[in-house]
């Protein structure tokens, strides 16, 4: 409700902080002002929008789970590496963040596509990834997992290792230490990283379009639908964007409410 009493923040800090908030909030308010609210219900009733919404939810859930299952272990291992290895592995892990999404899609396509470097062999085995819902999930995971990895690794590096040692002296095997000490200690960071990864996946557009195509009900997620809508009517695209923003806000606020208790 207010600034925590035990630590004073310099007053002047509120100036740049407000500016930062304004930079983000003002465009969002602009959107709220301009958006044709009346059209939203009708728009949401169309099968195209419903398919897109539902597909987005499913794929984002899947890619977030995938990001957690693979990304958390990577973050833990990464936080234990030192020297050149750490720099190398971290750089690789972060690279998808820097790729323009379209390039990310292209890179996936030339690798996992039916004629791709790896995909051609998968294809022989009857596994075709490109242009399926699986491709959407892979594209989303590829671009969003790095955000989870980098957030959690940073937090892990600043935890007190002595706590893990103490847990081990109490008889906890490495797996138990991981589950009951290491991960809970960085709980907020995991929550934060997951939120960011989910958000990134939900907004993912370029890589999905390129690697998975845009087929209603199969690969046309909400951002793709918005993009398509824009070809015909910018206002409708904005209206759908509001739906996306609302969805994202709810999904981001929800875990905070759940964990408020334990803070």
């Amino acid at each position: 409700m207010s600034l925590a009493p035990d630590t004073a923040v310099p007053r002047w800090l509120l100036v740049p902080a407000s500016a930062a908030l304004a930079l983000v909030a003002v465009p969002l308010i602009g959107l709220m002002v301009r958006v044709p609210w009346a059209q939203i219900p009708r728009l949401l009733a169309t099968p195209a929008a419903q398919d897109a919404l539902w597909l987005s939810l499913r794929t984002c859930a899947a890619s977030t789970v995938l990001s957690l299952t693979l990304g958390l272990p990577l973050a833990v291992v990464l936080s234990r590496l030192t020297g050149h290895w750490a720099v190398m592995v971290r750089t690789i892990s972060v690279l998808p963040m820097v790729l323009p999404p379209v390039v990310a899609g292209l890179v996936l396509l030339i690798t996992l596509g039916r004629r791709g470097v790896l995909g051609q062999y998968l294809s022989v085995w009857g596994v075709d990834i490109g242009f399926t819902t699986a491709a959407v999930v892979i594209a989303q995971t590829f671009v969003s997992m790095p955000y989870l990895v980098i957030t959690v690794e940073g937090a892990l590096r600043s935890t007190d290792r002595a706590l893990e040692v103490v847990a081990a002296t109490l008889g906890a095997r490495p797996t138990t230490v991981l589950r009951r000490v290491t991960l809970p200690l960085v709980g907020p960071a995991i929550l934060g990283g997951t939120t960011v990864a989910f958000a990134r996946a939900l907004g993912e557009f370029g890589a999905t379009l390129t690697f998975a195509g845009s087929l209603q009900g199969t690969t046309r997620t909400l951002p793709l639908q918005i993009y398509l809508q824009r070809e015909t009517d910018t206002n409708q695209a904005l209206a759908l964007s509001v739906v996306l923003i609302a969805l994202a806000s709810v999904l981001m606020v929800a875990p905070t409410l759940v964990t408020r208790r334990s803070r």
Partner: protein, 228 residues
């Protein structure tokens, strides 16, 4: 067509066909019961990349012939491409024309003009047309995508833009359209072909036929396309 009662035809089509093609498909589906048509719309060259990447598609409709040639060169299409529509360039401004643009002339000087980049078909055509008319354009942006040109004008961000007549038609009252002299000499042609390796080759063939048929043309011209 009645033997295979259920087939889903996937059509890869240029983004500028987003509105026209679903209408055509409605008619096609009525004529061919059991066949469902689904679309994937994107920039033509993206679609070629996707085809090259192994996308499962049955029909490919490109917004220009150069891109279709790339598909042909990579042996991605099964049939000889057929031109089914044409498009010409027009100048658009916001409805109130704040820049007082009168045409592709000196009224554009110092105004914000947005065009397509020369690397993409509409930009290539824009360049040719400007040469024909003896004007040197000083655009503030050269986008990759016609939609971005339309968007810049409808939001009022740009004073003028050069787009296809179909885009102007689709934008309706959001823009004012000004014809450009000699535009009929720089015609953009839309070719269509069936995709190599299609599992519904027959249906794909009939869809191509339908698009080039009278009913297909009728729909296309209602969206502002020219008929070859």
């Amino acid at each position: 067509s009645s033997q295979r009662s259920s087939a889903t035809l996937v059509v890869f089509a240029a983004a500028s066909l987003t509105q026209a093609f679903p209408r055509i498909a409605q008619g096609f589906e009525k004529d061919h019961p059991g066949v469902t048509v689904k679309f994937s719309f994107d920039g033509s060259s993206s679609l070629v990349d996707q085809l090259a990447g192994g996308a499962d598609a049955d029909v490919f409709a490109s917004a220009d012939q150069v891109t279709m040639h790339r598909a042909v060169d990579q042996k991605l299409v099964a049939s000889a491409p057929r031109v089914f529509a044409t498009n010409v360039l027009v100048l658009i401004t916001p409805p109130d024309n704040p820049g007082h643009i009168t045409g592709l002339n000196t009224s554009l000087a110092g105004k914000r003009l947005v065009v397509c980049a020369p690397q993409v078909p509409c930009g290539d055509a824009t360049l040719k047309l400007a040469r024909l008319d003896g004007v040197t354009l000083k655009p503030v942006s050269q986008t990759t995508n016609v939609t971005d040109v339309v968007g810049a004008v409808t939001t009022g961000e740009a004073d003028a833009g050069i787009v296809y007549t179909t885009d102007a038609t689709a934008a309706g009252s959001q823009v004012r359209t000004i014809a450009i002299p000699h535009s009929d000499q720089v015609v953009n042609r839309y070719p269509i072909a069936t995709v190599a390796g299609s599992s519904h080759a027959a249906e794909a063939q009939s869809f191509v036929a339908y698009v080039t048929s009278a009913s297909g043309r009728a729909v296309l011209s209602s969206y502002g396309f020219g008929i070859p």
